[in-house]
């Protein structure tokens, strides 16, 4: 019984929102905004559900003697209660973001730099074919042209135009990929709209 009802609600709501995007009727627009607000609230609730699921996973790990998860749970609880009591605009609470989250994530992004460098080095071994060679050559070219190393050369009229033309090349390929991705996204959305795919039934 749950399946047909969920499927029906999905199809009706999806069609209403799609109609509201194209049709400028005030009634449909109002219904669309109403439904979108519900969707935003539900997305927030789903986020809370996901956070509780994460806490439960870490709690299970604590019970299986993985004490690193205990630190995670304690840090979560501390941040939650400090923000609840002090407020988001409190400078001490802001330090949680600026002093802990930003440095940690920035460090991880720095590690991404090294990971990319090592991946590029291993690319010589892994993909020793035409595509791999083209990838490496293009990597060098765009790294040079976009880093202003050739800043002085860009002032030369001919060179500047060539560099500008080279910098537009990835855009052409990217646009083609983005078009295909858009079509795939439309197909995935339509499958949900017509009820062919029902990941929400469980």
């Amino acid at each position: 019984m749950k399946g047909p009802i969920a499927c029906t609600v999905t199809i009706v709501v999806g069609l209403l929102i799609l109609a509201g995007y194209f049709i400028a009727s005030p009634l449909i627009q109002n219904i669309r905004f109403f439904l979108l607000e519900w969707a935003i609230i539900l997305a927030g609730v789903a986020g809370i559900v996901g956070i509780f699921s994460l806490l439960r996973t870490h709690w299970r790990k604590v019970r299986s003697r993985e004490f690193g998860s205990l630190i995670v749970i304690l840090a979560f609880l501390a941040t939650f209660f400090i923000g609840l009591f002090l407020g988001a605009d409190n400078p001490q609470f802001q330090y949680v973001v600026t002093g802990i989250q930003v440095p940690i994530e920035s460090s991880l992004m720095a590690i991404v730099l090294f990971s990319l460098v090592f991946a590029a080095i291993r690319l010589f071994q892994k993909k020793n074919n035409l595509m791999g060679t083209i990838f490496l050559i293009s990597m060098f070219v765009f790294l040079v042209t976009s880093s202003s190393i050739l800043g002085m050369a860009q002032s030369i009229p001919g060179v500047g135009a060539v560099i500008s033309a080279i910098q537009t090349l990835p855009v052409a390929g990217a646009r083609g990929i983005l078009l295909g991705i858009s079509l795939g996204g439309i197909a995935a959305g339509i499958r949900i709209l017509i009820g062919a795919e029902r990941p929400y039934i469980g």
Binding site: G50, I51, R56, L108, I181, P199
Partner: protein, 250 residues
Amino acid sequence: MSALNIILGLFFILLFAGLILIYSLPRMNKKPPILRKIEAVEKLKLAMGLTVEAGTRIHISLGNADLLSPYNGSALASLSVLEQVAVISQLADRKPIATAGNGAVAVLSQSVFKNSLEGKSITDIKESNQGQLAGTTPLSYTAGAINVIRKDQVSTNVFLGNYGTEVALLGQTSNQMKAITLGASDSLTAQAVLFAISDDPLIGEELFALPAYLGTKRIHIASVKIQDFFRWVLIVAMLAGAVLKFLGSL
């Protein structure tokens, strides 16, 4: 939005949906579909079998896509692939794990796992942490997913969804653990990184074609056919527009 845009948009959506429905009918699918061979898909199928035989896990990473964002298509396609993988791998000694960077996608992944058990004579469904929210930001999700890759006996990592450059960390960890690494993303940045990191990357819209390759549902095959059809329509339209503009400028 102008009236022409509205009409064109509605016509496009209705035509797309109608063609998918028509091509998913049994009458239109009498012959088996001919899909071009994708090495990554073949490797994925092989990896799933090897993982089940070896008694290890498959890790499906669903990315950071939000269902309310325009990139929810990749999340939905990833959930379709997850369903196929879940059906195959649920009988394994170690159940597959899905990690997501968004709460709604994590909840849906749990629903997909639960749905894959229906109708099967599987009594042990207690492993409820198969669908996890690993983190709320991309880097925190990466840190949580790295933890899963390192500690949960994962031998195959499949990265599907919306990522940034942080997917390089996931791929590096997967390579360090000697796991099979496959990736597909709708983000151009992530595709470039996955090309260098993973064993067999999927470029562009191949992510959305994965359900047709892994499963046998007519709707997925019809979707792939219609995508190809409209791709050619767009190519012709762009070429025609460029030619006309060029001729107009003369």
